[in-house]
Symmetry: D4
Subunit: 147 residues, 8 copies
């Protein structure tokens, strides 16, 4: 079986690379998508449309340009992996999880045990909770290896 | 016009009461819904189904019982107000926002200016950003007063 | 049969009143909805959320507040009447027509013969084209009088 | 990332070519669709089905034949670019925008600053407002360059 | 249980009355809807919108006005009864059946045994085939009597 | 909060009555629906439409008449309770659970611990697993008591 | 533009071949689908599943096997051509038209002028009415020739 | 015609192989999907995510991992074959049938005559009932052989 997997959340650690490389090594039939993960480029996504005098509207314009890519990625994926790190609020990751839930797109959360209580609603609608990228790779292998 | 409004997010300040009372004083044609907002009762929502030995499964069971009410409230509302406070992660509020966005339910965020950058994706899909409950009451009045 | 009718478009003539009064006189079982039709209030719908330094963002905020009401009205109507006058661009009326078409909500256009060519795509997806409010009242009477 | 982009609106300037050529030069992974943009052919789309004695029915037949292509293009696109020029009513462009909005298809408007107030509802549901084709090309490059 | 039942098809016999009266006598909790069943009024439904020189366009305008009522009735019903008589083509009844099937609205056909082969596709998507109105009343009684 | 609850499954014990009576005693704002639960009447639901010579077609006709009521009940409920007893195959209960899952209707299973492994897929998509009717009543009380 | 076209209706004349050959000659980018059009094979579609003693159930089984193919063809097409001949009831063609209408699939009818009044509801929801296969080929050419 | 077929149910006999091999021999244009059918691997699907102390949660985790694959297979199939054997409860097969029914995915059941009464609701929503794999192969050949 072939799967399209959307990777959402934390951009300050290399969890995406670990999953993508792990799947490559196993030669799994999986394609990955993400939001633009270069932090500065993402914050500046709307800058080409004209300067803004307040940070609210600068952020707003960039967020809406980025949403074109994110929405497309979520709606065309078969499964999402949603990563929460220790730092930052990462409300966009929780937003993506809710978006998946409402569309009936299955998702797996990836986070440390310390976040269990804070993420209980997000985990409650997830298909699984993993604590490290290797577990994700193993699940992806299990899901796709048989024809 | 009559509206059904779902109030999501922070449960440690009285913003819900301010909005509900404000609308009552103006005699607006609005009904409100919320998750169960009593903190301890909410955390214990699944306890009656049997004890658990790990906090993950205790949280999980409660979150899924609570989701019955939340899902019903979101799917039957015409508009959601989603509140983010200074404290706590409030991933459930961002999750609700994403859920609304995917269903095409309009929502208004309610938060301080200090959270603008962290909430840019959540605000990017919102119909409006308000900074205090009075602004919410005024918008609700505007939306519902004309026949 | 009972119908919920959404009235969209031109706010500078009394076509809404003519239709509503005409249906009242015939005691038809119809309820009507509209955007907020007071021009200044509508343009200022978002002003309470804070001042803006550019007209684009002022308009933007008001348009998005108004969209909460309009979207709700369209999605809960059984039929829309969409009026185009001689003056102004009235792109919002054509936008509402496209919104109805995509949702499968039937709509009737109301405009003079002079606009036929310019409105051919909008009329092409309509259930009918009427030239005056009396024709609309007669159709509504026909549609609702038999049990 | 690969995108399917639908180009809607004005047919009297070369904005379509500018965007398509601009994307080709950058070797972006994008396919484009449009309504039939040859004006006379479009107006005559239904003529082969028999002559009409009124311009309303001639227009009607052509509009409905054209709608087969437009509807297919919108429903299979990932993003629409909707262009409003200074001249003409262009209600079909606003109709397409409303159609996109109701389907949850993201769209970007392309128009001069002079049209801001008249297009506030159309812009209010858009993901972005651009003022020239180069800005569109840059956004498309941003959205599709990272894997 | 309460049901909304749409009655589609033949208008030249009194099958509608038999069903409605039969349900009334049993005091069943059912509301009924239909297209406008007065033949001449139905054919003239669009006449008030202006005279036509061809029968195609006269029929077209009336059919589209009638479709507003029919579509509303089908989309808000819980069950449709679709009647085929011996005479006439009754393509509108088969059209309604297909419309119900695509929406997942259950329907029961009502016709003589002589039409079995010609109606095999229509019956194939039906929940039941009845041969007389009494059978319909009995099924409606069965479906609604228990709480 | 008001809820519409569909009760599916086993008809040979009094679990429905226990839940309904328990909710009545607590004066909960809940309405209940079920398939026709009288066994013989249910098996004979299609008999009025003519005799059959094979048990397959007799069962088939009755099942399809019953499906009208069941489908309506599921599609209009806010929550389903799905009961599996020790005896019988009860494939219809599992079928209802799958139907709920695909529609996004939340459901709670009600069964003994001995059935845990056999029901793992059905429980996997459920919001909760209860072992007795009192637990169901308590959850319904929790979900509906706060405004 | 590429189109997937479903051909529905009459199987006793060569209209399908005329359209398919006409499109081939013009090298149009179109793929076609149909129900199984061999009459005897179609009537016997369910025979392999066991003999039946009544023609109703034999027809029923075959109709439901055929519906698998027809439903798949309609749901994956971009446009349907629906043909009504002079002979036979052809309720399945009208059923397909209703199915298309409910799904929002555009369709074109193909029939003689003599059937205009009987087909007014079917034509009322169509995008066009053609009287011969050449007109269909010309429309398909128009719709697909421009990129 | 090409078909994607999902094979659901019993994993203790070789019915899947018989169907797949039978279709290969006939060179039919069909692709097949299934849940992971290796019993032990399936029960252990969630084990890599951490040990559980109760069988309920172990089963639960595995069922939800498996559901990712099953849901994807059902939602992307054109037809499901659902097999019930003599042994075991096979509630997951009935669950899949209900899931298909709610999504409007056609399915064919495959079971012995002895199960007819117990499966009447599942058969009632099926397109056909087959008693052996050869019948399935013949239907698949019939459905796909004509272009």
């Amino acid at each position: 079986m072939k799967l399209k997997v959307y990777l959402s959340g934390e951009i300050h650690s290399d969890w995406r690379t670990q999953i993508i490389e792990g799947c490559k090594r196993q030669e799994l039939n999986i394609t990955f998508s993400s939001a633009v993960t270069e932090h500065d480029a993402s914050d500046a996504a709307g800058d080409g449309l004209g300067e803004e005098s307040t940070s609210f509207w600068r952020d707003h314009k960039s967020a809406k340009v980025n949403a074109i890519r994110i929405k497309h990625a979520i709606e065309s994926c078969d499964l999402a992996i949603i990563r929460f790190g220790e730092k930052y609020k990462q409300w966009n990751a929780a937003f993506d999880a809710g978006y998946c839930a409402a569309l009936g797109k299955p998702y797996i959360t990836l986070h440390d045990e310390s976040l269990v209580h804070a993420l209980k609603e997000v985990d409650g609608s997830a298909q699984a909770w993993a604590q490290n990228p290797e577990q994700i790779v193993n699940i992806l292998k299990y899901l796709t290896t048989q024809a």
